[in-house]
């Protein structure tokens, strides 16, 4: 109905670049209204939200490390999403990665070496991979809906971490408080820039993003995933295994989420705690779509999402705005970006390949 009003056929290429600006303009307008209504200087508020967090080297470092787990999870998820495989349990796979990688650090506590960190990373990725494999196997073997199983397993993983940290893995010198020992230096990600927390996990994330990009655009496996997502009938006709795509998608996204978990734990926390992620795995789903499921788009989207967190804190610290206000603002920002973003995507689709009726 309303859609008929959209002049899609006449869409020109520059609109594609204009829509992010439209989203930005809408955000600014809304921000001005919202903050003025609250009796604050709207431009100061916008500056505080978007610019102020990045006015120091430390702030830029934080921007990058907050984007890192989002990037790792979202890039992994994008593989599956392209193949119409819906892993929404990255949060659980991230947690499992943190558990397995952190477990290695604890198991070798007291006799570490330079080999420890690589081993932790492998264990973390393996943990996420294994946790991701469960919904894939349940889907392939029993036809169980993966959205549901991966979501449910997330809560299981989080509770399992709670059990370990409250119980067997508690720091023996920690007065029975629920946290593990602090990892030894060998178990910590090296810091890249003195005076910041910018750690090697960021580089890892960038490398992984490039690999996924090559995988999706240059390899036959990646091609199969895309075909399975865009034209399941064609994929079946060509003899591509749908089950293979499901498994592959979950293994990749699970492993990368696990990597995000151990990178977060060894990079910024330095121990296991009852909570290792404030919902990166869920936020990454939004990031993946904001980035149009393209690895480089996801890099930008994860930086935007990361800035949203920092901006929220900045508003609280500098303007004494309650968290609730920043929550509203963040939600609106996402709506605008999503709304305008997908308009572009849809247009491209329409002009490139006419949709099957």
């Amino acid at each position: 109905m309303l859609l008929r009003l959209e002049p899609r056929q006449t869409s020109s290429k520059w609109m594609q670049y204009a829509t992010p600006l439209i989203a930005a303009a809408l955000t600014v307008i809304t921000g001005v209204i919202l903050f003025t209504a609250l009796g604050r200087d709207p431009f100061l508020a916008l500056y505080t939200f978007f610019v102020r967090p990045l006015t120091s080297v430390y702030g830029i470092g934080e921007w990058a490390i907050k984007a890192t787990p989002l990037l790792l999870c979202a890039v992994g998820l994008s593989v599956g999403f392209r193949g119409n495989v819906w892993n929404i349990g990255a949060e659980g796979q991230l947690t499992m990665g943190a558990i397995c990688g952190g477990g290695v650090a604890l198991a070798f506590w007291g006799n570490e070496g330079i080999w420890l960190l690589p081993l932790m990373l492998i264990a973390g990725a393996a943990g996420g991979l294994a946790w991701g494999a469960i919904p894939a196997i349940l889907k392939n073997r029993f036809n169980a809906n993966e959205i549901l199983t991966s979501l449910m397993l997330t809560y299981v993983a989080i509770q399992f971490l709670g059990y370990l940290v409250h119980g067997p893995w508690r720091d023996p010198d920690g007065f029975n408080f629920p946290e593990t020992r602090l990892f030894n230096d060998y178990g910590l990600m090296p810091v890249l820039v003195e005076g910041t927390r910018l750690h090697a996990g960021v580089i890892l994330a960038v490398i992984v993003t490039i690999i996924v990009w090559i995988f999706m655009s240059r390899t036959f496996q990646g091609f199969k995933v895309q075909v399975a997502g865009q034209a399941p009938a064609a994929a079946a006709y060509a003899g591509y295994s749908q089950k293979g795509v499901v498994l592959l998608s979950f293994l990749v996204s699970g492993a990368l989420a696990g990597l995000a978990g151990i990178s977060e734990v060894s990079g910024t926390i330095g121990q296991l705690q009852p909570v290792v992620s404030p919902g990166y795995g869920f936020a990454a789903i939004i990031v993946a779509f904001l980035g149009r499921l393209h690895p480089f788009g996801i890099v930008l989207a994860s930086l935007l999402m990361s800035l949203m967190y920092l901006g929220g804190e900045s508003l609280q610290i500098n303007l004494n705005l309650p968290l609730a206000v920043t929550g509203v603002f963040q939600g609106l920002l996402l709506f605008f970006v999503l709304g305008s973003e997908v308009l572009v995507r849809y247009r491209i689709k329409l002009t490139a390949t006419p949709k099957e009726a």
């Binding site: 073997r141 036809n143 979501l151 299981v156 059990y163 936020a283 939004i286 709506f335």
Partner: protein, 309 residues
């Protein structure tokens, strides 16, 4: 006799714990049957909870609160509907964004109402029936919303499988292109389904803030919206199984608390995983029969539809 009282207490507790899930899951079921996956249930519940609470405080009448909660749920679902149906955004991402917005929005408008005490909704014993031993307390001594949840269950069941509207809804969810070709307005029908989902999520929120724990506190739904989402799939999109599943979920929680209260020690963390593990296992078991699933699962769930294409 003591054992009987405890059993009744557990069952009544189960019904109460399951009721918000029944509302939210029935709403989501209708939305999904039309082919729309809305992951924003948690956000809509919270906004419903706060709106219902505020209206109750301002009017002193919890029934106005219920209406306000429904309205608020619909309002938020309209945002989702506009984005996903008109602007064709991805439903998964939009639903998650809706939850982020709902959490923030509910906290924001509820700031001045945190800690205001209200008179919650009281049970309405049904004359005579409520006095029957065992059955009375179990079935006929509840608050209005619990009775209403059963009414809604009956209505949704009838609508889906015995009405023309239900047929159209299912057709749209099954194949939007076919439905469109026959001449149904897919977007309009999906909008209505999403709005119904919003209304029911609002009711679920109102149940929490007006009946279950009559108060407003940020994030008071504590993840129940996600459980409702899980329930819909757990129930393979059948209202009867939604009802059973909701009470099963409620029942496991209540039972594990009772087991602890009697003095059996259980790892609280591991017990907390039980409902989730149970869902995964049950789902794997019931999904094995592929044809059964296909019979109920809306085929075009989550897929965008554009009539011009």
């Amino acid at each position: 006799m003591d054992g009987m009282d405890t059993a009744i207490a557990i069952l009544v507790g189960t019904i109460r714990a399951g009721t918000p899930l029944v509302f939210a899951a029935l709403g989501e079921l209708i939305a999904e049957k039309s082919g729309v996956l809305n992951l924003g249930v948690e956000g809509m519940m919270l906004v419903g909870a706060v709106a219902g609470f505020i209206a109750t405080v301002l009017t002193g009448n919890p029934y106005f609160g219920i209406l306000a909660a429904i309205a608020a749920g619909i309002l938020l679902s309209l945002v989702f509907g506009t984005l996903t149906q008109v602007l064709l955004t991805n439903q998964v991402a939009t639903g998650l964004a809706l939850t982020i917005f709902g959490i923030g929005m509910s906290a924001f408008i509820g700031l001045d109402f945190v800690g205001t005490p209200i008179e919650g909704l009281k049970p309405i014993p049904i004359p005579f029936l409520a006095d029957i031993p065992i059955v009375g307390p179990l079935l006929f001594n509840h608050d209005a919303l619990i009775y209403f949840s059963i009414v809604m269950f009956a209505l949704v069941s009838w609508f889906l499988f015995h009405s023309r509207g239900g047929l159209i809804l299912r057709a749209v969810g099954e194949s939007h292109h076919a439905a469109h070709a026959i001449g149904y307005s897919v977007v309009k029908i999906r909008f209505l389904a999403v709005m119904f989902g919003g209304a029911m999520a609002g009711l679920a929120g109102a149940y929490l803030s007006l009946v279950y724990t009559p108060q407003w506190a940020e994030n008071m739904t504590a993840g129940r919206g996600w459980i409702a989402l899980a329930l819909v799939v757990f129930a393979t999109w059948r209202p009867g199984r939604v009802l059973i599943g909701a009470y099963l979920f409620g029942g496991i929680t209540i039972l594990s608390l009772h087991v602890q209260a009697v003095g059996y020690d259980v790892s609280s963390h591991l017990v907390a995983t039980l409902p989730y593990l149970a869902t995964v296992i049950v789902l794997a078991m019931i999904s094995r029969d592929a044809t059964k699933i296909r019979l109920n699962a809306p085929a075009s769930l989550g897929k965008p539809f554009h009539p011009g294409a």
